[in-house]
């Protein structure tokens, strides 16, 4: 088949409760972005202007844990419309730093910051506990790391684009 005629793989990136470090690591693949741009199309995410998650996405990379009612609604919608869902980075995989709030409880956190005046209009409510993605929806691929390095993300993407399940156990890292 002629590659130029081949349909591009649709890819979405989603940012829940995290620091954006995983998205930055994705940009750290640098010039290899040019090469990927030939075979993928970014259809949704913080780098593009689409406001509504598309009907059908081949591959979605999720950064961050599920922390607010917005995150919860978003990840359910994303799962419904995604073929392969990747938990990208430790916050998505384990809850990591955002889940440090769990032992204190959400009310204590809000009280500490806003005293009794925590905002309630327009802003989403925080969930009682921060959850890793797989506790809310099924996850197909896990890429741990804080963040996963650019090489890890690139390798995983190349494997997934080739239709293979990436074996990441020798290249990924937790926490580091």
């Amino acid at each position: 088949m002629n590659t130029s005629a081949k349909k591009k793989v649709s890819v979405a990136t989603v940012w829940l409760d995290g620091c954006s470090g995983c998205h930055m690591s994705l940009l750290d693949i640098d010039e290899r972005l040019l090469e990927l741009a030939a075979s993928i199309e970014i259809v949704y995410g913080p780098f593009v202007d689409t406001k509504v998650f598309p009907e059908q996405v081949d591959l979605t990379l999720v950064e961050g844990s599920v922390s607010s009612e917005d995150d919860l609604a978003k990840i359910k919608k994303v799962r419904e419309h995604t073929r392969v869902l990747v938990a990208m980075g430790d916050c998505a995989v384990t809850g990591n730093v955002p889940s440090l709030r769990n032992p204190f409880g959400t009310d204590k956190i809000l009280r500490h910051i806003y005293l009794p005046n925590a905002p309630t209009e327009i802003v989403p409510r925080l969930l009682p506990s921060v959850l890793p993605v797989h506790q809310v929806v099924p996850v197909d691929i896990y890429l741990p790391g804080c963040p996963p390095s650019a090489d890890v993300l690139y390798t995983a993407l190349v494997e997934l684009l080739a239709g293979r399940t990436p074996d990441m156990k020798d290249v990924t890292r937790f926490g580091k």
């Binding site: 940012w15 620091c19 954006s20 470090g21 593009v48 032992p103 910051i113 005046n117 209009e121 963040p147």
Partner: protein, 473 residues
């Protein structure tokens, strides 16, 4: 009936936010708001953890500017140790901070805002992104990727990792610089200067097409706040704060950032997780101030590096709206990138930069420590108290983006009033509402915190060591 227009999510910014605009029956804009929809709670969940964890933990506030948090946090920890860190460690931290300003500004300019500037505010939204630039102006996309990459590579060479390097520690840095790495860094910096100069030339050439945006993108008089050095030069690592008004009057000089609680107040709004700080002596309305690259160029008297100074002077001489208009944040970001490359080169050539003594070791000697620095987006403070065992009792974070909250909200309203003229609202208008926010380059993963009274714990002992009085606030 009045109507509410909502943009959700705001895209091509760093973090989670919505914009709402209230329009009355006649199609006139009544009000507009920028809503930050995330809050994280670092100030609370670090309680009880060892202070030595803070730099690495606090770096996780933000994946775009982890280095800023590493530096402000480590400076607060230096104060807990009560040490003066080796001068080579200061220089190495400065280089890391400048590399981060370079990569973060490159992200903002090329990846997030260039689609509006290069393809146009009204361009096809499906193309209005870095990939659209790649397709239509590949040389510009390559420049942006390369420039950001140079900043990230310098961070990696110094810190061992591009994002969340653990190299900055209480007392200094963990490893000295090697001669080999210094040469590799020096070899990249001329290219980053060239790319930045190219981007500057291009930006100046398109400015005349953006008169409407210059006039309405948060263009109003206000105060500007930023750090300056001993001779009022541009400074990002250690100095005092200066507050200057749009008319050029210095409202406050030699402010000690460590005293921030005496001159910054903030209010909580019910419709956003981001608080709104203002300069306390002037009150909320007159005390609104802006921070970040434009503020730093306006409060300082010069950059202190030749090419950046030439560009700064040209900007100030050519565009009188620099003192009021936030569209010029883009311009200021480019000048700061030029400065960062020039300054890194100077620092790397200093005779003691390879000195192996880069860390002071000590136990905690003070129970309270404050660290201030300039992050890419503006003035940053980390403030900790610890107990006798070095465990965190309280933490307070003053985050760059928060300072701009009042100005961002007023900017959204200004754009709405300028571009929403009847009930017909185009995609280009909606995009401009987001683009005014992008000019400030907010970082919302960073931006919530608890200002207010720090808990106070005073114990009075008699000469025999018995506790005779105790007060906890």
């Amino acid at each position: 009936m009045s109507q509410r227009i909502t943009i959700d999510p705001v895209t091509r910014i760093e973090g989670h936010a919505k914009i709402t605009v209230q329009v009355d029956e006649a199609g006139r804009v009544e009000d507009a708001h920028f809503h930050v929809t995330q809050v994280r709670g670092f100030e609370k969940f670090c309680e009880g953890r060892p202070f030595t964890e803070m730099p690495s933990l606090m770096a996780r506030i933000c994946g775009i500017c982890p280095v800023s948090h590493l530096i402000a946090s480590s400076k607060a920890c230096d104060a807990l140790l009560a040490v003066r860190i080796p001068s080579t460690a200061v220089k190495l931290r400065r280089i890391l901070n400048l590399a981060q300003i370079l990569q973060s500004h490159a992200l903002s300019f090329f990846y997030l805002s260039a689609p509006d500037l290069l393809l146009g505010m009204d361009a096809d939204p499906t193309q209005r992104n870095i990939f659209g630039i790649l397709a239509q102006h590949p040389e510009m996309a390559r420049d942006g990727i390369r420039l950001r990459s140079i900043g990230q590579q310098i961070i990696e060479m110094l810190g061992g990792k591009r994002i969340h390097p653990a190299w900055v520690v209480p007392g200094g840095v963990s490893e000295p610089l090697t001669a080999e790495k210094r040469e590799l860094m020096l070899a990249m910096l001329p290219e980053s200067r060239e790319i930045t100069l190219r981007a500057l030339q291009w930006f100046k050439s398109i400015l005349p097409q953006y008169q409407e945006e210059i006039a309405s993108f948060a263009n109003f008089p206000s105060l500007f706040l930023g750090m300056v050095g001993a001779e009022n030069e541009l400074e990002h690592y250690d100095g005092s704060w200066r507050l200057v008004r749009s008319d050029g009057e210095v409202v406050a000089d030699r402010l000690d950032p460590l005293q921030y609680q005496s001159f910054i107040e903030e209010k909580v709004e019910n419709w956003t997780y981001l608080k709104s700080p203002f300069y306390k002596p002037l009150g909320e309305r007159e005390g609104m101030y802006r921070v970040g690259p434009l503020a730093r160029l306006l409060v300082s008297e010069r950059c202190g590096t030749p090419e950046a100074d030439t560009e700064r002077e040209e900007m100030l001489a050519t565009y009188k709206e620099v003192h009021t208009g936030s569209f010029f944040y883009h311009y200021a970001r480019l000048i700061e990138m030029l400065y960062a490359s020039e300054r890194m080169e100077t620092l790397l050539r200093e005779s003691d930069i390879l000195d192996p003594r880069v860390r002071a070791h000590a136990e905690p000697n003070q129970l309270e420590g404050i660290g201030a620095s300039e992050a890419p987006r503006g003035s940053l403070i980390h403030h900790y108290t610890i107990d006798e065992n070095g465990l965190i009792r309280s933490a307070n974070l003053i985050i760059a983006t928060g300072h701009n909250n009042l100005a961002m909200n007023r900017g959204v309203l200004q754009v709405a009033q300028r571009f929403i003229l009847d009930s017909h609202i185009t995609d280009g208008t909606l995009n401009r509402l987001e683009a005014v926010i992008r000019a400030f380059d907010p970082c919302l993963s960073c931006s919530t915190h608890a200002l207010g009274e720090m808990p106070l714990h005073v114990q009075v002992f008699n000469p025999a060591g018995d506790l005779v009085n105790e007060r906890i606030r």
